[in-house]
């Protein structure tokens, strides 16, 4: 049966392709709609926010952004998040880089067990460490301090960095160390060469993804910080706990909190995907 559009088999194939794209489009709409809706909300005046039925068309305003950026209960947590996240990243990189290098480039006894022990930090319910620390931190004066938070953030940034960096360091061919050794260089020569040149993009991506995970984290600061060092996630949650809910400013705060992440993420998406699955499959 040959029609104008080709054989019936090819017509079925084309129809399946259209159906598949429609299904993908539907899922993508599901994934993006909340972001789109909150973005719209951040541009609405209060009257438009609470309108029933909800409004898709309105006169946009930037007033919510101006308002949020002048509020200390947004700016202080934002600043705290920057301090804690970068502090935690710096400390984690110091600990994780040598560890990842050893796990990726050297053979020794107990290697996989240690690697798994590091990963298992990620599997514990956070409060099983946090609740004792809540008691311990008070007596050591670490409660509601930057140092206290940076230390506990290692629970999330360290395992992620070790596993992601390890996977990038394993990509470098083994011949490199041999060549360095023939030239009379030590292990440190190879270490320096690998981390400053060959594996640099991967290592940078590990830091970026750890940044996102640390930035997104909530429960550490919920338990171990109070007003002084509260981070952005906890700070934003305060916005909807008040009686007079200013949905517009909350939406603007949400957009300001996630937009930096998305910009970074889009630039490094190829590496991101590797990182999001770190410790699971070899990318």
């Amino acid at each position: 049966m040959l029609g104008k559009g080709g054989t019936s088999a090819s017509r079925t194939k084309r129809r399946n392709g259209v159906l598949a794209n429609a299904a993908l489009l539907a899922y993508t709409a599901f994934a993006l709609f909340p972001l789109f809706w909150i973005f719209l909300m951040s541009l609405k005046v209060q009257r438009d926010v609470i309108a029933t039925p909800p409004k898709f068309f309105f006169t946009p305003t930037l007033a919510n952004y101006a308002e949020v950026l002048s509020r200390p209960d947004f700016l202080t947590p934002f600043k705290n998040s920057v301090i804690v996240t970068f502090g935690a990243l710096f400390l984690s990189a110091l600990i994780a880089l040598p560890a990842a290098y050893a796990l990726a480039r050297m053979e020794f006894r107990g290697k996989e067990d240690l690697a798994f022990a590091f990963l298992s930090l990620r599997f514990a319910p956070e409060l099983i460490i946090l609740l004792p620390l809540f008691v311990i931190y008070q007596s050591f004066g670490l409660y509601d301090t930057y140092i206290g938070l940076i230390l506990i953030y290692q629970l999330i940034t360290f395992p992620l960095m070790v596993w992601m960096m390890r996977s990038f360091l394993e990509d470098v061919p083994k011949e490199l160390e041999e060549a360095v050794q023939i030239d009379g260089g030590s292990w440190f020569t190879s270490f320096r060469m690998i981390i400053t040149r060959i594996a640099l993009p991967g290592l940078a991506a590990s830091c970026v993804l750890s940044f996102i995970y640390a930035w997104n984290h909530f429960v550490f600061a919920l338990v171990l910080a109070s007003q002084r060092t509260q981070v952005i996630t906890g700070g934003l949650l305060q916005f909807i706990s008040f009686e007079q809910i200013q949905w517009g400013s909350m939406a603007a705060g949400v957009m300001l909190a996630i937009v930096p992440e998305f910009i970074i993420a889009v630039f490094a998406l190829r590496y991101m995907i590797r990182g999001l699955t770190a410790g699971t499959v070899k990318g």
Binding site: A23, I95, A99, S120, P125, E126, L127, E261
Partner: protein, 287 residues
């Protein structure tokens, strides 16, 4: 050569120190779960054996209720995400420039703070919110998404699914791309239908990837805190109160450290049981 044999341990030393540092609060906490430690009473914790555990598993007690909610939440979330993620991953194995765009866009929910994502959904799930408005377009009655005991658990699972299905998609997609094309060609030469090819060929080959998804998503949803705390605080009337959220209110708010640590130890055992499943699967593949 002696120096080079010690070198890896030297490089790992800071990491090992961190592991040991975590052990101190962890072991203190486990010990407290066998005591009547309560900060409101201010007395020194006294050992009370298994009292807290007996109380936690008492029929129709709040501990047992939280355990059941913990399981229900994890089972619903993992099942929904596995099915949806597998379907979308299959669609994304095709070629084309537009597929690359889809792949980039669907990752976005995974990159935002779960607390913030949940706040977005809370806004949309209010009785006058946009979700109910959209339901009215197709003549469906409105829901009280997070406000009613019969729908709250499903609503928080929906939020979890929105955030974490991309993770399942990424893992399964990596698995599907690792299957050599010859395998697919052989199946087609044998005249296998697409459904057969998926069920009899891909599903068995993807087994290790399913294990990874179930372990990672299983653990994360057993210990889910951010979404439930932000959406409902365990309510309405404990309808979404899982072990992790329960332990927060018992320990941090009510300062009953002993009981709270008991809930956490039970939860920890559940999570690590799943983690050892992963360890065994890993060992199996190495052997």
């Amino acid at each position: 050569m002696n120096q080079s044999r010690r070198l890896p341990y030297l490089l790992l030393l800071p990491g090992i120190v961190l592991l040991l540092a975590v052990l101190y609060p962890f072991l203190s906490g486990v010990y407290w779960s066998f005591t009547d430690f309560d900060l409101t009473l201010g007395q020194n914790p006294a050992f009370n054996g298994l009292d807290n555990y007996v109380e936690a598993f008492r029929p129709s007690g709040e501990g047992l209720h939280s355990i059941l909610i913990t399981f229900a939440y994890a089972a619903l979330a993992v099942t929904a995400q596995l099915l949806l993620g597998f379907g979308v991953a299959l669609l994304l194995t095709r070629e084309g420039a537009h597929i690359k765009v889809f792949r980039a866009l669907i990752v976005l929910p995974l990159l935002m703070p779960p607390v913030v994502a949940t706040m977005m959904w809370r806004v949309m799930m209010t009785p006058d919110g946009v979700l109910n408005y959209m339901l009215s377009w197709v003549y469906l009655p409105p829901f009280d998404w997070l406000g009613s005991t019969s729908t709250a658990l499903f609503s928080v699972v929906l939020i979890d699914t929105w955030i974490y299905t991309p993770f399942v998609i990424l893992i399964l997609l990596a698995g599907m791309q690792s299957i050599p094309t010859e395998v697919h060609e052989a199946a087609r030469v044998d005249g296998a239908s697409y459904a057969r090819e998926v069920w009899n060929l891909m599903v068995p080959l993807l087994r290790p990837f399913f294990v990874i998804v179930i372990v990672f998503r299983g653990i994360d949803s057993l210990k889910m805190f951010d979404i439930i705390y932000t959406a409902t605080r365990g309510g309405p009337i404990d309808a979404t109160m899982n072990l992790h959220v329960q332990s927060y209110f018992t320990g941090i708010r009510a300062l009953d450290i002993g009981s709270s640590m008991t809930f956490l130890v039970v939860l920890w055992v559940l999570c690590y049981a799943l983690a050892f499943l992963l360890l065994r699967a890993r060992r199996g593949r190495l052997a």
